[in-house]
């Protein structure tokens, strides 16, 4: 029971962080955050790849990559490596599933596997 409430709290906190981030910059940044939530570890190159491959039609500016990596949604975990907090990540993934559907998530996951290979 406690675990459930703490998970919910994490998600609420994550939602607030995401909303603050989007409010500060631009609504299009939310889409980039969705895709960035899929991999466990983010690198500048990977984020650039996701933006170029999936967000061309949304016209997310290039500087959004920098803003996302340097925002409080991500924290550095190694040289040129970033990770999202679990609360932020789970909130973004649930929102992504609602907005874009599970199929889209699977497509992006396949793309990520292809990128890693």
């Amino acid at each position: 029971m406690d675990e459930v409430t703490s998970l919910e709290q994490e998600q609420i906190q994550g939602r607030q962080q995401v909303e603050r981030f989007v409010w500060r910059f631009d609504p299009s940044y939310q889409r980039l955050a969705y895709y960035a939530a899929l991999p466990l570890i983010l690198t500048p190159e990977l984020l650039n790849y996701l933006r170029n491959q999936l967000l061309r039609e949304v016209r997310v500016p290039w500087v959004a990559e920098v803003d996302l990596l340097l925002s409080d949604l991500c924290r550095p975990v190694g040289y040129e490596q970033y990770a999202m907090d679990s609360g932020v990540r789970s909130y973004l993934l649930s929102q992504m599933e609602q907005e874009l559907g599970k199929e889209r998530i699977e497509t992006v996951a396949k793309l990520l596997i292809a990128y890693v290979r």
Binding site: Y49, Q53, V66, A114
Partner: protein, 358 residues
Amino acid sequence: MSDFQPEAMVTRLFHRLRREFNLGLREYLVALDAVQGGFGAEDLDSLKMVLQLLWCHSVSHRNQFGFIWEEIAAEQPKPLPKSSEKPSRSEETPIQPPDPSPQTPAPPEPRPLPEDRAGLKPLPVQPPVSPTDLDDAPELRLYFPVSRRAMTYLWRYLRRPIADGPASVLDITATVKQVCRQGFFLAPVYRRREVNRAHLLLLIDQDGSMTPFHRFTRDLVETAQTDSTLEQVEVFYFHNLPFATVYQDAYLTVPVPLKSALASCDRDTSVLIVSDAGAARGYRRMERIRETTEFLTRIKQQTTLVSWLNPMPKDRWQGSSAEVLAYLVPMQQMDDDGLSNAIDIVRGQPLAHLYSES
């Protein structure tokens, strides 16, 4: 058995795929060797599998291969029946007579081929597999508003030509003058060949808020060092501030005193500083501004050819340390124009256009 010619199939497929799959003669010969060694020589399915293993390096390749394979396999005289009815091939004539009771014995064989072909012809238009064909080009795209190619091109403008090379350039004017003065032709006059003696000192902010720009700074350094005609390129790295120590490597592990890094700096040295100056996070810190000012004063005592390249767009400098520092040193945003302006400044040419008055 005799109709199935795997080598011919390999050749046909190779001609179809060589451009899309970037196949060379080597891949072709490897496939032939495999077939001659007995791999894929049994039937169409095994040949398909072998060729996929040899030639397809991604999911999209495999999909594309599938379509083209079916198209080419359909053109084969006996594609599917052959594999299952290899022995009965010779008995075709006896088998068909029983069926002909409803007449027209021959047509059943050729019919599927044109149908298949007609059905597959529109498929060469690949877009149907939308998610997979995306992963075909992972290494393309420009990362930032300035590409590596543009950098290479723009470095060419950083020139300090000095006639210091071998005396191998024929000076016709001087030769004619000499002939007129002496009254006869004795020898041609040669002048020294011009050499680009530009000396560039790159000071690059690394790590922290500059981490997302590492790719850009790497490109900048690599193009300056390898793809340009600059005679001397020195690169030093720092974190936030080049206070007393700078580093020789991008991982900030080999420290060098700032004094010795600037030792080779004279009035003809072009200094290009690359840093976001707090603009990436939107910070304005007086301490940073003060210390950067001291550093800039120190550099300006040695050379006036100093410019600052800020990877953040100009509209994001507002409210950060960059906004203040842009009054102290010509600061350019990172795009084609910005890099071009920065290079104009560090080669001692004032900006002719009104792009960035800071």
